[in-house]
């Protein structure tokens, strides 16, 4: 049984999408801009009204409080937004999770930050000081720190230089393997898709279809 299962999900510009992403599996979605890739991810995270159902294991989205659902299917939007001035303010769950269980989870914050090339003092940085790339990497750290069971990545490496792109790819691969997370990755970059493997889907004329 797949970990993340989309059942006749119908975001605004797409024909109904049914898709199953196994635990620890990586699925790429590509398509021309404006084709609805981001809308598909937003629909899975339940940010826009749409018909359809999504399952996480045996649990239906509609049976779960929305806040809990969104924390469990982590969506990384193409543009990272921050709601207070200091980076550290955005990581409250990380402390709670690490404090609650004895063994540090794979999402332990110091490990996450160093895997993305940051020192721990980045938590004291002001958000306004961050470059676009730093924002994007820290947004991924923020997302993984909330320990999601699936990852919905929207152009996660679009603004990164090659070395940082590699860091992000490694971190996502590690997280996917150790946490058994289902990963749905929207990417423009054909080389990235070849490099990382996984099943490939494309959106053409409002339909999601496997690329062989």
């Amino acid at each position: 049984m797949g970990l993340l299962r989309l059942e006749a999900l119908r975001p605004r510009v797409l024909a109904p999408v049914s898709l199953c992403v196994d635990s620890g599996e990586l699925v790429f979605v590509s398509g021309p801009s404006g084709s609805g890739k981001s809308l598909l991810l937003r629909a899975v995270a339940d940010l826009d009204p749409h018909p359809g159902e999504v399952w996480l294991g045996a649990e239906a989205r509609s049976a779960m409080p929305p806040a809990r659902w969104r924390r469990r299917v982590g969506l990384l939007p193409a543009e990272a937004f921050w709601w207070t001035d200091t980076v550290g303010d955005h990581f409250p769950q990380a402390a709670a999770v690490a404090g609650a269980s004895g063994t540090p989870p794979p999402s332990a914050l110091p490990a996450l930050l160093s895997a993305l090339g940051f020192e721990p003092d980045v938590l004291d940085w002001s958000v306004g000081r961050l470059s676009t790339g730093e924002r994007q990497r820290l947004a991924l750290a923020r997302l993984l720190a909330q320990d999601p069971e699936a990852l919905l990545l929207d152009e996660a490496t679009a603004n990164l230089d090659p070395s940082n792109r590699e860091r992000v790819e490694h971190l996502v691969a590690d997280y996917r393997a150790s946490r058994g997370a289902a990963v749905l990755w929207v990417s423009h970059d054909p080389e990235q898709r070849v490099r990382l493997g996984g099943r490939q889907f494309g959106i053409h004329d409002g339909r999601l279809a496997a690329i062989t």
């Binding site: 009204p49 969104r70 939007p77 997302l143």
Partner: protein, 269 residues
């Protein structure tokens, strides 16, 4: 104490000054003479009509007629709040949120005042009820309008930040809390400022009117204080109700931010 009664001739003199201003505007090409004259005529007609209506109301003390008058005032105030929104809610909510929150706040403060503070018999005596309601509605209207406008604009501009909070596992309440706080503050600032400077720069309009009409200054000051306290309570309640209902309406049952429930900003007409 004598009340100097104004004759139509006295008013005509004052009106001459407005005509003079309009003439100067025409000579200097300021282009406001038309609007100035229309506004002057409007206020003349409206105030005289209100004077007549109040005279009839005061003579009868009929609760149904008074209720009708109160309803009319609330209806107009509701439209005024609607007019001042850059991005108003679609459908009946656009009008309903403002009118409902003004109804809750103004009428509860009004009832409290009439029955507990002023204690008139019967409580709906129009000499007290109508002017009090007018002051309350007029000020609550500004507060609710500013608060709602700040809320809907803020949500529109901060969509990314709000959704980021939702995605990090926040509830709709967490996601809108900052904007809600800013909106409430914006709604309350005018009355707070008015209280802080009352009497230092200018005498508040009501107190001026009472003094001109022959009341002793201390009595006028006490009534003005009463009004200011009531107005701030009413404005606070009204802004809170408007912001609370409005912020709830910005999210649906699955706690999605629903900016499609706001109408796009229209150009000023």
């Amino acid at each position: 104490m004598s009340l100097v009664l104004l004759t139509p001739l006295d008013l005509a003199f004052a009106a001459l000054l407005v005509l003079l201003l309009a003439f100067m505007s025409w000579r200097l090409h300021l282009g406001v003479e038309r609007r100035l004259l229309i506004a002057a005529v409007r206020s003349t007609v409206q105030l005289l009509l209100v004077g007549l209506v109040l005279k009839a109301l005061f003579a009868q003390t009929n609760p149904w007629l008074i209720g009708l008058m109160a309803l009319f005032m609330l209806t107009v105030a509701g439209f005024e709040v609607l007019q001042r929104q850059k991005r108003r809610f679609c459908g009946p909510w656009g009008y309903g949120i403002g009118a409902l929150s003004m109804f809750i706040s103004s009428f509860s403060v009004l009832l409290l005042t009439l029955t507990v503070i002023i204690r008139v018999e019967p409580w709906y005596q129009p000499q007290y009820l109508i002017p009090l309601l007018g002051m309350l509605l007029g000020n609550t209207m500004s507060g609710a309008a500013i608060a709602l406008d700040t809320l809907t604009r803020g949500a529109w501009d901060a969509r990314g930040r709000i959704e980021a909070r939702l995605l990090s596992g926040g509830t709709w309440n967490d996601a809108i809390a900052d904007i809600r706080r800013d909106s409430l503050r914006a709604g309350l600032i005018p009355i707070v400022n008015a209280m802080a400077t009352a009497g230092l720069v200018s005498l508040p309009g009501m107190m001026t009117g009472q003094i001109l009409a022959g009341s002793p200054p201390m009595e006028a000051a006490k009534y003005q204080l009463l009004m200011m306290f009531l107005i701030s309570a009413g404005t606070g309640l009204g802004s809170m109700a408007a912001v609370w209902i409005g912020s709830r309406r910005l999210f649906d049952e699955r706690e999605r931010l629903r900016l499609d429930r706001l109408r796009p900003a229209e150009s000023k007409h």
